[in-house]
Each structure stands twice: as structure tokens, then as C-alpha cells.
């Protein structure tokens, strides 16, 4: 059994991940995750858009303490998507390959496995790696 860590956030598209975002028809603000109404202007009836999988690493850290059940050391970062949205996720890359501005791609991975049950989440990998 394979289930996302939270429903309604992303869709697997082969290896890659499309983020389930929304665009405000009134002010154009793009949101992730999808809010009930536009957080910038309050308009309702947001258009559902898929974001990613490509982006650019905006900031990163190699974490040496346990968090969210991830085994340290692990890298995390924010990537900026072409739509302007910044998304946080683990980054699967050797620490010395991490650079601000590096092109990345969102992929799915198994965050947790308990028996037959797999919890799926997303992470960034360096593009071309």
C-alpha cells in the first residue's frame, strides 16, 4: 500500500512530482498548498494548477539532528519554482554538491515504510545528477 504523507498536496508523474497548487483568477497569486480562498486578495474560485517538477535551489542546510523521522545527516532546502512559489523538501544530493541556484527537480520517495505500507513524500534532486 502506497499513500502520500498528506492528501491533496502532490501527484506522482512517473519519477517526478507535480505539486497541486492554485492560481487566483483575480490577482494572479499562485499558492501551494491550495487554500480555500486567495490568501493575497480573498477571491474565491481559485483555478487549480500543477506546479513543478523543476525549480532552483533557494537555500539549503545539511541537518545533523533528527527531525521528522529522517536519519541525520540529511539535506533540506527551499526550491523556487518557475511560478514563483518556494517549496520546502529534503534534498537528495551530496553535501558538497549543494549550491544556491542549482537546478533541481521534485521526485517522490518513500518517507516511511511500516510493513507493507509506504508513506510517500517529495524531495528535490539535482537536475542532471
Amino acid at each position: 500500500m502506497r499513500a502520500p504523507f498528506k492528501a491533496g498536496l502532490f501527484r506522482e508523474d512517473g519519477d517526478t512530482v507535480r505539486f497541486l497548487g492554485a492560481r487566483c483568477p483575480a490577482c494572479g497569486q499562485v499558492h501551494y498548498p491550495r487554500p480555500r480562498a486567495c490568501l493575497a486578495c480573498g477571491a474565491e474560485g481559485l483555478a487549480e494548477v500543477e506546479l513543478g517538477p523543476s525549480g532552483e535551489l533557494f537555500s539549503f542546510s545539511v541537518v545533523h539532528m533528527p527531525a521528522a523521522g529522517l536519519k541525520p545527516p540529511f539535506a533540506v532546502g527551499y526550491a523556487t519554482l518557475p511560478e514563483g512559489v518556494r517549496i520546502f523538501a529534503p534534498v537528495d544530493a551530496p553535501p558538497d554538491a549543494l549550491r544556491v541556484g542549482a537546478p533541481v527537480e521534485a521526485r517522490s520517495f518513500v518517507l516511511r515504510r511500516e510493513g507493507e505500507a509506504e508513506t510517500i513524500a517529495y524531495r528535490f534532486v539535482l537536475r542532471g545528477a
Binding site: 504523507f5 498528506k6 498536496l9 497569486q29 499562485v30 499558492h31 498548498p33 490568501l39 493575497a40 533557494f58 537555500s59 539549503f60 542546510s61 545539511v62 541537518v63 545533523h64 539532528m65 527531525a67 521528522a68 529522517l70 540529511f74 533540506v76 532546502g77 527551499y78 514563483g84 512559489v85 518556494r86 520546502f88 523538501a89 529534503p90 553535501p95 544556491v100 518517507l111 513524500a121 517529495y122 524531495r123
Partner: protein
């Protein structure tokens, strides 16, 4: 709205540190009794009180204050993460300024070592999607630090220097958890937590309490000939992360500072001393800019100039800050108002800012996915 002038007439704090044998009541009583004693106010004269505690049971304020003779009045319990204590001060300021009461107490208290939930780290919120993916408070500040390195030329040595500066001040503060200086090398060589933040750039988990007695300026004259005036109080919630151009500035930090300066009718150039949120050393650089202590992009140069050291042009965190004094979360925002008041009264001992007339106490509180920060609260005091 017509508002009355408000004064801080009493300050008190418990010793900060790890006291697994002391209850939150014991810590809180020490702080409130010290503040009452400092002000000369009898418990029976207290008309309203606000109590802040994050790792909370029910009715912290009622349980705590009833132990020092304060009962049968309006008491509210306040939570605003690290800004909880400042928010309690702010709430009391509003009550006194608007005339709901003439005199009250604000107290912040935390027993982190005995908390059943806190452990050594602030636990992530279960609904926070970033928390599921490895976000934690030190990680968020590491991501800020990386942007400071990328856009402002900050180095790991600069971040270490913030911690060294804090510990140098904390070594002079008898109430501090760590009264010990550290070197840049020691800070950099301490255990890596979230690159580039090492252990000695993280505030410790701390037990402690702090309290203030505040009243209208008119009432203050009955108790003291030298009241410390609250020139401004401002509290704002954080902006959406999508509206934050970079992690090197908190929009809420800038907005709250602007509001506080406007209310006080002065600017950052008028400040003699500042206390701010320095839970993780790199963030102090962000606050330099957001508080207007330097131009945007000028924080690294300001730090390296030594201006924010004890004895510098504008000492920042002369108490030792959260880094060295320790960080009992909800107590810190009250405690840093106490610290500013002590400097303005000339009673800050070996860490005194000479001739200080105006000081600012700032706290940032909380983090959640989608928000740049939870809250920012600023008080400006003057004599």
C-alpha cells in the same frame, strides 16, 4: 483613541538555568515577588495580570499569582511562542493605556526541563507539512543563515561572533544560565546542528521566569520619582511566506519596528541599547536590519565594527541574550523588557550601557509553514 502614558515601575526575574527540582510556580513566585518588591507595590494593589507560558497547564496565571497574594482580579493567560512574554507586557500596556486598569503585573514563566512535551526541542506541529519533511526551528534559521551568506557575504565566523558577543555579556550577568565566555573557534568546533548553525549558536532549553509591574504614569509617581516610561508597544502577526522576497528580512520585523518608532516619535538612531530575539546566532543580523540599526545589507559590517558589543555604540543583547542568558520561551519577552528597564535606571551592573536613555526590546515568536514568522512584538522604553 486617547491613551494614557504607561510606566514600568518594577522588574524581577528568577535565575535562569536548568532547575528540574523547581516547579514553574516556584520560578514564577521568585520573579513576581522580586518585581513587586522592586516597585514597592503590595499584591493587593494589583488590578489585572497577564501570564504567559507555552508548555502549559490550565490557568498558569491564576495558579501562580494566587501564591503571592494576588487573587480575585482579572487574569488572562497568553501564548505567542517566543513572543508570549512580550505579548503579556503588551496586553497589560493596552489595559493601562486605555484606562481599563491603573496597575497590573505581566509575568512569563517556563519550566522546560520538567515539561512533558518539550524534551530538548520544540516539537513540530502535526498539521505542518514542512515539519513532516524535516523542518525544525534550528533548520529554519539555518536556511536564513545560508541566505545571509549568499546575499550579504556573511561567514560562519560572523555567526560565531554573535554567540561570542552574547557570552561575553552573559558572563557579566549573575542571572544567566551560562556565565562563561566562548571563543570563535569553540563555537565553530561545537557540534553541527543544522549547517552552518553549530550547538554554541543555539539557545539552550531553560527554566526561568520574569515579571514586570506596570501602571499609569500618574500612579507611578506614588511609587517612584524615576519611572521608566513605555514610549511604544507594538505587536503584529507575520506576513505570508509568499510575500517575503528573501529570508534575510522579516517583513513583520520591519512593520512592527516602524509602528513602534512612529508611536514613540523617534527612530533607531535615538536608541542607546537593544535586546532582541537571538535564539539562533545568525538571526541577530536580520534583526539589525529590520530594526533599522543599519541599512539593508549592512548587518555584517555593523557586527564586525563592534558597535553592537557591550561598550559599543549600540549594544545588542547586553544581558547575554537568549544565547547565554538562556531562553525560557515565554519568560524571555518579559525578561528583555526588564533588562532594558535596568539599563535605563542605571542598575545593570557590570553590563550597564553608560547613560542609556532609550532602549528597545524585541521578540519574534513562532514558525508555521506558509508564514514568515508567527509574531513580532516590540517595546520602546525611555527615561
Amino acid at each position: 483613541m486617547s491613551m494614557r502614558e504607561v510606566a514600568v515601575i518594577g522588574v524581577g526575574q528568577s535565575k535562569f538555568g536548568k532547575f528540574p527540582e523547581r516547579s514553574f510556580l516556584d520560578l514564577g513566585h521568585e520573579a513576581v515577588l522580586a518585581a513587586l518588591r522592586d516597585s514597592g507595590v503590595s499584591p493587593k494593589a494589583v488590578q489585572a495580570a497577564y501570564a504567559s507560558r507555552l508548555y502549559v497547564d490550565i490557568i498558569t496565571g491564576e495558579a501562580l499569582l494566587s501564591g503571592v497574594g494576588i487573587a480575585g482580579i482579572e487574569i488572562m493567560n497568553v501564548e505567542n511562542a517566543c513572543a508570549g512574554g512580550s505579548t503579556a507586557v503588551r496586553a497589560l500596556w493596552k489595559d493601562v493605556a486605555t484606562g481599563f486598569c491603573d496597575l497590573g503585573v505581566a509575568v512569563g514563566v517556563e519550566s522546560m526541563t520538567t515539561s512533558p512535551v518539550v524534551g530538548k526541542m520544540i516539537p513540530p506541529a502535526p498539521d505542518d507539512i514542512e515539519a513532516h519533511l524535516g523542518m525544525a526551528v534550528p533548520v529554519a534559521f539555518a536556511l536564513i543563515a545560508r541566505r545571509l551568506m549568499e546575499t550579504e557575504g556573511a561567514t560562519p565566523e560572523d555567526f560565531a561572533r554573535v554567540s561570542v558577543k552574547a557570552h561575553r555579556a552573559g558572563a557579566l550577568n549573575p542571572m544567566a544560565q551560562y556565565q562563561k565566555e566562548v571563543t570563535v573557534e569553540e563555537v565553530l568546533r561545537s557540534r553541527m546542528i543544522a549547517d552552518p548553525i553549530t550547538l554554541l549558536q543555539c539557545c539552550p532549553a531553560t527554566d526561568g521566569a520574569a515579571a514586570v509591574v506596570m501602571c499609569s504614569l500618574e500612579v507611578a509617581r506614588r511609587y517612584t520619582s524615576r519611572p521608566v516610561k513605555v514610549l511604544a508597544s507594538a505587536l503584529l502577526s507575520g506576513s505570508y511566506a509568499f510575500a517575503q522576497p528573501d529570508f534575510t528580512s522579516f517583513e513583520v520585523g520591519r512593520r512592527t519596528a516602524r509602528q513602534a518608532y512612529e508611536l514613540a516619535g523617534l527612530g533607531p538612531e535615538d536608541l542607546d541599547v537593544v535586546e532582541c530575539h537571538d535564539a539562533f546566532a545568525p538571526e541577530e543580523l536580520v534583526h539589525y536590519e529590520d530594526l533599522g540599526l543599519c541599512e539593508a545589507g549592512g548587518a555584517v559590517a555593523l557586527l564586525r565594527s563592534g558597535a553592537t558589543e557591550l561598550g559599543g555604540r549600540i549594544p545588542v543583547n547586553p544581558s547575554g541574550g537568549l544565547q547565554s542568558l538562556g531562553h525560557p520561551l515565554s519568560a524571555s519577552g518579559v525578561r528583555n523588557v526588564c533588562e532594558i528597564a535596568l539599563h535605563l535606571r542605571g542598575q545593570a551592573g557590570a553590563r550597564q550601557t553608560p547613560g542609556a536613555k532609550v532602549g528597545l526590546a524585541q521578540m519574534l515568536g513562532g514558525a508555521a509553514a506558509g508564514l514568515e514568522a508567527g509574531a513580532c512584538c516590540i517595546h520602546i522604553l525611555g527615561v
